[in-house]
């Protein structure tokens, strides 16, 4: 198992203690709830869309450092991006966690690369991915809450 500092990088801990865009968007165009039934992590994600562009994004909820930091970084990385680009970022993020042998797409990932260590902790991958499933649910406008199951 890799060193703990690989998993809990400072940037992750910093996002955990001071999450970005940690609020409810009162006039959200889209929103979705995410829930990890196994560990109880909960998230609510809110989006404002300007045409095809995600102009605003906020989240609320409770969860472990990994799920919270991942959600915080998500809001940073997709804000101002097109829906298509957001999906590309999700794809790159998913590949980084599930195919750790491959070279990550650094351009798409930016800060999210600091979550690469999660790939070494299979039980925690769901924590990192919860916010992203929730984003997908919000973009698709599905009513049911997203889960990692």
């Amino acid at each position: 198992m890799s060193d703990l500092s690989e998993l809990y990088q400072e940037i992750l801990l910093e996002h955990n203690s001071k999450p970005r865009n940690f609020y409810k968007l009162e006039e959200a165009d889209r929103s979705a709830d995410g829930f990890n039934p196994l560990c109880g992590d909960k998230i609510a994600l809110y989006l404002k869309l300007d045409g095809d562009i995600i102009s605003e994004v906020g989240f609320q909820g409770s969860g472990c450092a990994i799920s919270r930091a991942s959600a915080s970084m998500l809001t940073q990385s997709v804000k101002g991006q097109s829906v298509e680009r957001a999906e590309e970022i999700f794809g790159a993020f998913h590949r980084m966690l599930t195919e750790p042998g491959e070279e990550p797409d650094y351009d798409a990932l930016e800060d999210l690369e600091s979550l690469a260590g999660v790939a070494e902790f299979p039980t925690r991958i769901k924590c990192a991915i919860l916010a992203w499933h929730t984003l997908k649910a919000a973009l698709e406008g599905t009513q049911e809450s997203a889960t990692t199951e």
């Binding site: 198992m1 703990l4 500092s5 998993l7 809990y8 400072e10 992750l12 801990l13 910093e14 955990n16 203690s17 196994l38 560990c39 109880g40 992590d41 909960k42 409770s62 969860g63 472990c64 450092a65 990994i66 919270r68 902790f121 039980t123 925690r124 924590c127």
Partner: protein
């Protein structure tokens, strides 16, 4: 307690249990996990197995494997004898009156479902009530919800205090003419609270209401005497009691079991079958349709021998001292809060930490070789009661040591250190 081969007295760690000798009986404990010696503190989920239990399973499949109550051949007779001897061991272990009152099931969950689907469907009707506590495992909530939904009955919940004790006045108030069953956890898996099962039973019996006691957590840690408790049903799992997975026990009073319809139909549970009419078998076979977990039952018998030889009161005293030590050490950690501080408590140290989620605690402890459970412990209503999403839980067994508690404390210190960098 023991005299070593040199004739010198071996130091006894704790009253009555020589933990170093005990540890040599559990092979799984002697391994490195993530480069550190394994510290197994997830015993409320499942306990480890002594070599004697493992050997029993190997012996059974190597020499005796056969179906029970069916063949005239030697192996079948041998398997049947061992299977029924194990039933007698279970009876003695919980001091039931008769072997026929011991029904083998898959585990506590199946035992409760059996009672819900037989006794429950027979006795619970529209507007009736079933009483549980606010600290139940999901396995003692959902089977009753299913029954209530089917019957138009209501589930009533005895509330708990901040320390995790039942509010007995509320229980008294909930008991009434519509109460058809009281089903309570003996020892809470999430909080460690030991409930006054005898008093609860007495109060219910005052109104003629039967009581089921969920002993999944209590049976491994204390002497259980179903006749003294007076309960009508008692359920527990083999795998939390140092036995194999897949085997558990439902104890029921013979008169109740006789009056109940069968749970599942099939072989073994019948006396005679024609397409017109089936005559059900006598207890306990009436409730044991199909080929049972024969090896598991025999292994459970060995596990009961193992702990009975050590003595349940010795185990209780040893673990109690360890729990007190753990409580002291954990309470001294700044920012750590123990969830569940009942006066009567056993085996469980559930805790939360300021600013650090239980899953992160669990992952960091794992890198130190320490196994704890994190999450809601299949007791979401308990988490809601304390307004927390989850806890980290260290749960004890007879092979745990003070040194392992010290390792846990060191692991928690490490967690604080890791998280301190980000604050």
């Amino acid at each position: 307690m023991t005299t070593g081969s040199s004739g010198a007295i071996t130091p006894v760690v704790g009253p009555g249990v020589d933990v170093e000798t005990v540890r040599t009986d559990f092979p799984v404990l002697h391994q490195m996990v993530n480069g550190k010696p394994l510290v197994y503190l997830d015993n409320a989920s499942t306990s480890q197995k002594p070599q004697a239990v493992i050997d029993t399973l190997v012996q059974y499949y190597t020499m005796d494997n056969s179906n029970v109550h069916r063949g005239v051949h030697t192996l079948s007779q041998r398997a049947t004898d061992h299977y029924e001897e194990a039933r007698a061991k279970v009876r003695r272990f919980i001091n039931a009156e008769a072997d026929e009152e011991i029904i083998y099931v898959r585990g506590t969950t199946e035992g409760i479902n059996l009672v819900a689907q037989t006794f429950g469907r027979q006795n619970v009707g529209e507007g009736d009530e079933i009483i549980v506590t606010a600290m139940e495992h999901h396995s003692n909530i959902v089977p009753w919800q299913i029954l209530c939904q089917e019957r138009g009955a209501h589930l009533k919940v005895i509330p708990i205090t901040d320390s995790g004790e039942l509010v007995m006045e509320e229980y008294e108030r909930l008991l009434g003419p519509r109460t058809k069953l009281v089903s309570i956890v003996h020892q809470s898996n999430a909080l460690g609270t030991v409930n006054p099962a005898k008093q609860i039973t007495d109060m219910a019996h005052g109104l003629g209401v039967p009581v089921l006691v969920d002993g999944a957590q209590s049976a491994p840690h204390m002497t259980v005497d179903v006749q003294d408790l007076g309960c009508d049903f008692f359920v527990f799992s083999g795998h939390k009691l140092y036995g194999p997975t897949g085997i558990g026990v439902l104890y029921g009073r013979a008169d109740l079991l006789n009056a109940m319809p069968p749970y599942q139909g099939g072989g073994e549970m019948i006396k005679s079958v024609t397409f017109e009419k089936t005559i059900y078998n006598d207890l306990p076979h009436k409730f044991e349709a199909g080929t049972p977990d024969i090896a598991g039952a025999i292994g459970l018998g060995t596990a009961i021998d193992y702990i009975s030889n050590l003595g349940m009161s010795n185990i209780y005293n040893y673990e109690r001292e360890l729990l007190e030590y753990g409580t002291q050490r954990l309470s001294a950690i700044e920012g750590l809060q123990i969830i569940g501080t009942a006066r009567e408590k056993a085996g469980v140290l559930s805790f939360v930490m300021e600013g650090i989620h239980p899953h992160d605690i669990g992952t960091i402890l794992d890198t130190e070789g320490i196994a704890v459970r994190t999450g809601h412990h299949c007791a979401q209503p308990v988490m809601d009661r304390y307004e927390i999403p989850a806890t980290a839980r260290a749960s004890l067994a007879l092979y745990n040591t003070r040194e392992e508690i010290d390792a846990l404390v060191k692991g928690i210190d490490r967690t604080i250190e890791v998280f301190g960098r980000g604050l």
